[in-house]
């Protein structure tokens, strides 16, 4: 089970939360001028990385607020939570990715 750090309530168990998909998806600024491709990109297309993913969560059974979370989809490591409208913790993510590449090396003897 994930222990998720709500920006207001602190660490709480995963069942108190709901996942809201990828964060920072921008609605087209000029809806009337947008092509079908641009709408399809906005509505349907999402990245699915193995590694750090910026996603939205809502503290459904707690303070009921939406926030963003940086989580490693391969290890489930939670890098940090940040409020809506705030910037993702880029430097922490970069550091984590650096250590992840090192530790991903195969141990000696493994082919």
């Amino acid at each position: 089970m994930l222990l998720i750090p709500c920006p207001w309530c602190g660490e709480r168990d995963e069942p108190e939360f709901h996942h809201g998909g990828e964060a920072h998806i921008k609605r087209p600024l000029e809806p009337d001028q947008s092509t079908d491709e641009e709408w399809a990109e906005y509505i349907f297309m999402r990245t699915n990385p193995k590694g750090v993913f910026l996603e939205r969560w809502v503290h459904q059974s707690g303070c009921r607020r939406w926030f963003n979370l940086a989580r490693n989809t391969a290890t489930n490591e939670i890098i940090g939570a940040y409020k809506m409208g705030e910037k993702p913790p880029i430097s922490t993510i970069a550091n984590k990715q650096k250590t992840a590449t090192v530790s991903n090396k195969k141990p000696k003897g493994v082919k």
């Binding site: 207001w8 309530c9 059974s61 009921r64």
Partner: protein, 209 residues
């Protein structure tokens, strides 16, 4: 003006008052439960950064608005509370005959302010839990760290108790820990039954009035 209407507790059919024990009938019971129905409950929303709003609430209710997450404030009598529910949301709780007063005192305080006040008195009932084993009982179904160093008197959280959503408030009691469990009415019977069952090993004293 709050109109008169027929009020019924979601636990009325369990006849808790009729089944209640008299004072000190069960001195060894580790858990004391009591339903406290019909409390006045209002959801207040507004901007916590707005001085006029926070000061206005304090003046209207004679109670400071708790701004820090998971905290509460209580009046001198111990019967009225403001519970933190979110960064711009609070639950105001008072005695059952306080509805009209809470409604009018806040409404008149903020004639030209942006705020929201909703009467939700019928949405939840209150189960008060105390006794020497109260914390142990809650820990059977609640993932919150209830140790006094982490969940001190006055703390309030919205969480799950055995999968049911509750608002859990630890009262400012100088004696043994006392917890208020606000439960939505459709979950009230389930939660009371769960509490009765979970309390069996400790001995249960039902003090509903």
């Amino acid at each position: 003006m709050v109109d008169a209407y027929l009020r019924q507790s979601p636990l009325a059919h369990l006849h808790l008052a009729a089944r209640a024990t008299t004072s000190n009938a069960l001195p060894d019971a580790g858990v004391v439960l009591a339903e406290i129905p019909y409390l006045s409950q209002f959801v207040l929303r507004g901007n916590a950064d707005n001085q006029a709003f926070t000061a206005g609430i304090k003046k209207a209710l004679k109670l400071p608005l708790p701004i820090s997450p998971c905290t509460s404030s209580v009046d001198k009598t111990g019967h009225s509370h403001i519970l933190w529910m979110g960064p711009d949301e609070w639950l105001i709780v008072g005695p059952s005959d306080d509805q009209a007063h809470i409604n009018s005192s806040i409404s008149t305080a903020f004639r030209n302010q942006h705020f929201s006040l909703v009467n939700v008195s019928e949405s939840r009932t209150l189960i008060r839990l105390s006794g020497t084993q109260a914390q142990n009982l809650l820990e059977k179904g609640c993932s919150i760290d209830l140790h006094p160093s982490a969940f001190s008197p006055g703390s309030v959280v919205n969480t799950h108790l055995s999968h049911a959503h509750i608002t859990l408030h630890r009262l400012n009691s100088i004696q043994q820990p006392t917890y208020d469990l606000y439960v939505h009415r459709s979950f009230a019977e389930y939660l009371w039954s769960w509490l009765e069952d979970a309390a069996r090993e400790y001995g249960l004293d039902n003090r509903s009035k």
